[in-house]
């Protein structure tokens, strides 16, 4: 069963390997770096949402924790960036467990609102704790990452590094899904009562997966800091959490590949729309980037109304329709 996932990872690795040669422009490589960071967070979020069935509107907070841990520890205390990233992971992990224990007892709407509240609190603190975080002025002068003495100072190097991490995360996630823990998680999603009566310790498993997804988000935040070299609370607001959920839901929550598809598509959407606006400008039609939000919403709503299993599932079904191969599902129930 795992074979096709590994093939998928292999194909993605190949695409990643040739991409810098196909993309001549550093700017677009930069866009693909952000895409990789979103993929990383979405893979974690998908494990939580699709496989454990727990919604989180709070993952922007973990991205922020990673980003600020990296930024502050390196600029203010002179830490090594890798150590700072590690500290970010530990802080996110501890926060996730502390927040997760009471939060994950809640279900459905309550859980969504509780995680949303958590994310808002973190954002308010980032803005308000001016003496520590710099407040709205943010933190600048963040150092770049170095790997075995090689500075990750060009877009190409950062591109390869971030996508390599995505591939590792994918490999890890795929293995997790097919392990005993993974099957237990899917049982939680099916029915918590049934799962617990069959001996799955649902609370511990839910918290574990919540913490794991927080770590993915935290690493993505750290990488963001070391790539952009400047951070402020702006990108880590509640809207970012919503955008992450949108990515996972658009791609399809029940498959890791869906999360990757959604993250790639929605990360590239602003660029696609800016192409569109240049095209429309020739016909004297003004398209403003302000409309992007509207389009995100429309895409999310249409997917939820017409393709509730997500775009990836939709694409796959249309392929299986043409190739007429077997129709077994990815989750292998």
């Amino acid at each position: 069963m795992n074979m096709k996932d590994y093939i998928g990872i292999g194909v993605l690795a190949l695409i990643v390997a040739v991409m810098p040669f196909a993309v001549g422009n550093d700017y677009y490589l930069g866009v693909l770096v952000f895409t990789a960071l979103n993929c990383l967070t979405c893979i974690g979020l998908c494990l939580l949402l699709g496989y454990a069935g727990q919604i989180s509107l709070g993952h922007s907070a973990f991205v922020a924790i990673g980003a600020y841990a990296s930024a502050l520890l390196t600029t203010k205390l002179g830490w090594n960036p890798w150590a700072a990233m590690g500290a970010g992971i530990v802080i996110s992990l501890v926060t996730a467990v502390l927040v997760g224990i009471p939060t994950l007892k809640l279900k459905g709407h309550y859980l969504a609102m509780a995680t949303l509240g958590f994310a808002s609190i973190v954002h308010v603190v980032l803005v308000a704790a001016v003496d520590i975080t710099g407040g709205p002025s943010g933190v600048s002068g963040i150092p770049r990452l170095e790997l075995f003495g090689l500075a990750l100072d060009t877009d190409t190097r950062i591109f390869y590094f971030c996508w390599a991490l995505v591939l590792v995360a994918l490999y890890f996630a795929v293995n997790l899904i097919h392990s005993r823990v993974g099957r237990g998680l899917q049982a939680i999603h099916g029915s918590e009562d049934a799962a617990s009566s069959l001996g799955v310790n649902i609370t511990v498993d839910k918290i574990r997966i919540f913490a794991l997804s927080a770590v993915f988000a935290s690493v993505s935040g750290s990488l963001y800091s070391h790539y952009v070299l400047y951070i402020d609370p702006g990108p880590f607001d509640v809207m970012h959490s919503v955008l992450l959920i949108t990515m996972v839901a658009v791609g399809g929550i029940h498959s890791i590949w869906g999360a990757v598809t959604g993250a790639v598509l929605l990360s590239l959407l602003p660029e696609g729309l800016s192409f569109l606006s240049e095209g429309l400008a020739q016909f004297n039609i003004q398209y403003k980037t302000d409309y992007d939000t509207l389009i995100y919403g429309a895409i999310l709503l249409s997917i939820m109304l017409f393709l509730p299993e997500g775009l990836f599932d939709g694409i796959r079904r249309s392929f299986s329709f043409f190739s007429k191969t077997n129709t077994e599902t990815e989750r292998g129930q």
């Binding site: 695409i15 993309v23 930069g30 192409f275």
Partner: protein
């Protein structure tokens, strides 16, 4: 199964490749980037700035361009958001290959992109007020700015407070880049003028109510209040003061220089005192003043091109910045390093004052560039 995954991957790959088409540049064009807060919290700065740079580009190109080459502006909207400004700077430098950058509009966005332009060695002329954008000049080789410095603004306010014999003051500043820099200057320069800051309060740029801070300032016994912000939130302070019946005089920074801020505060804005460039009171400037011609010329052409809008100091900052750059490019072409060297030698009569740039001064203006203005019957007039 395999085929499906390969196909899926190819769909994703082709989507990625679509974005790789690079812009082709014509040889006879000069590319300049503008990062302005056209929408968002600082849109009252960015909008007149955008209007102004577009207006000047038209004039320059109608007159045959710069040495026969067409001036092409790449205008990016940072929405007043620091991260968007950094992304815009990267895009302009990497994708559009601009030879210089005008803007950003606010101190926060300017500070955010300083490391980017320093590393890329691209000259930038900020349209924002904080002195720290260009100081210390040794670490700001590529950074210039066209508005007056906030440190000079503080000095003008303290000068006026001294003539009123007020020494106990409260300060209330926004936590954005402009507000935070202003707060530092207010505290730093206080000793020199023997000002006693009895209350030091701050507010979030998105705050909607400053009653709590004002009550604390009142309790601390302040005799005058200095309010320092660039966002629309600054208009809430006079409203809350009126609500609480605080009668102390209110001073604002040069970030108040758009009539819309006064309009938002309504009649609570009456009597506010703030230092600003002469542009807002151009009719009261003496006919033989060196700036008179530039001021009247810019105001008339702006209000003719945009009849619905009134001239603001912020549009003036963009006017100064772009003309300084265009003059430098007439001598230096599109070589960023040569442009930088030319800007550093510039002497220019602008809307904000008479500029004298040097290797030690990347702002080129002193405190005489300010005039004290006040709000009277909803209009800005020179304080008498």
């Amino acid at each position: 199964m395999k085929i499906r995954h390969v196909l899926t991957a190819m769909v994703a790959a082709s989507a990625l490749c679509l974005t790789s088409a690079a812009a082709v540049m014509a040889a006879e064009e000069l590319h300049v980037g503008c990062i302005l807060s056209i929408t968002g919290k600082a849109s009252w700065l960015g909008e007149p700035e955008r209007n102004t740079v577009e207006m000047i580009a038209k004039q320059v190109n109608a007159a045959g361009g710069i040495n026969g080459k067409k001036l092409v502006l790449h205008i990016e909207d940072d929405q007043g958001d620091n991260t968007q400004a950094v992304n815009a700077a990267n895009k302009l430098i990497k994708k559009d290959k601009v030879c210089a950058i005008i803007g950003p509009s606010t101190s926060g966005t300017s500070m955010a992109i300083v490391p980017v332009v320093q590393a890329a060695k691209i000259p930038m002329i900020s349209c924002a007020g904080a002195a720290v954008i260009v100081e210390p000049v040794a670490e700001r080789k590529w950074v210039f700015k066209s508005p007056q410095k906030d440190s000079d603004c503080v000095k003008r306010i303290y000068d006026h407070l001294k003539t009123k014999k007020i020494t106990q003051i409260g300060i209330i500043t926004s936590t954005s880049g402009f507000g935070a820099a202003g707060r530092d200057q207010l505290k730093k320069i206080a000793a020199e003028y023997k000002m006693d800051i009895v209350a030091d309060e701050t507010y979030d740029p998105a705050a909607t109510d400053m009653t709590a801070q004002l009550l604390k300032i009142k309790a601390a016994g302040a005799k005058a209040l200095v309010n320092w912000s660039i966002e629309p939130a600054q208009s809430i302070v006079p409203q809350n003061m009126k609500q609480l019946k605080l009668a102390m005089p209110l001073y604002q920074s040069h970030g108040f220089g758009n009539l819309k801020y006064a309009a938002a505060a309504g009649d609570a804005a009456e009597g506010i005192i703030f230092p600003a460039g002469r542009l807002l009171a151009v009719d009261t400037v003496a006919a033989n003043h060196p700036q008179k011609k530039v001021l009247a010329g810019y105001r008339d052409s702006y209000e003719k091109a945009f009849p619905k809008d009134k001239v603001s100091t912020f549009g003036g900052h963009a006017y100064d910045a772009l003309w300084i750059l265009v003059n430098a490019m007439k001598k230096a072409g599109n070589d960023p390093a040569k442009i930088r060297d030319e800007i550093e030698k510039t002497k220019f009569v602008g809307t904000a004052g008479v500029f004298k740039f040097s290797a030690a001064d990347h702002c080129g203006l002193d405190k005489t560039a300010f005039e004290l203005l006040t709000v009277k019957n909803g209009k800005f007039v020179v304080l008498k």
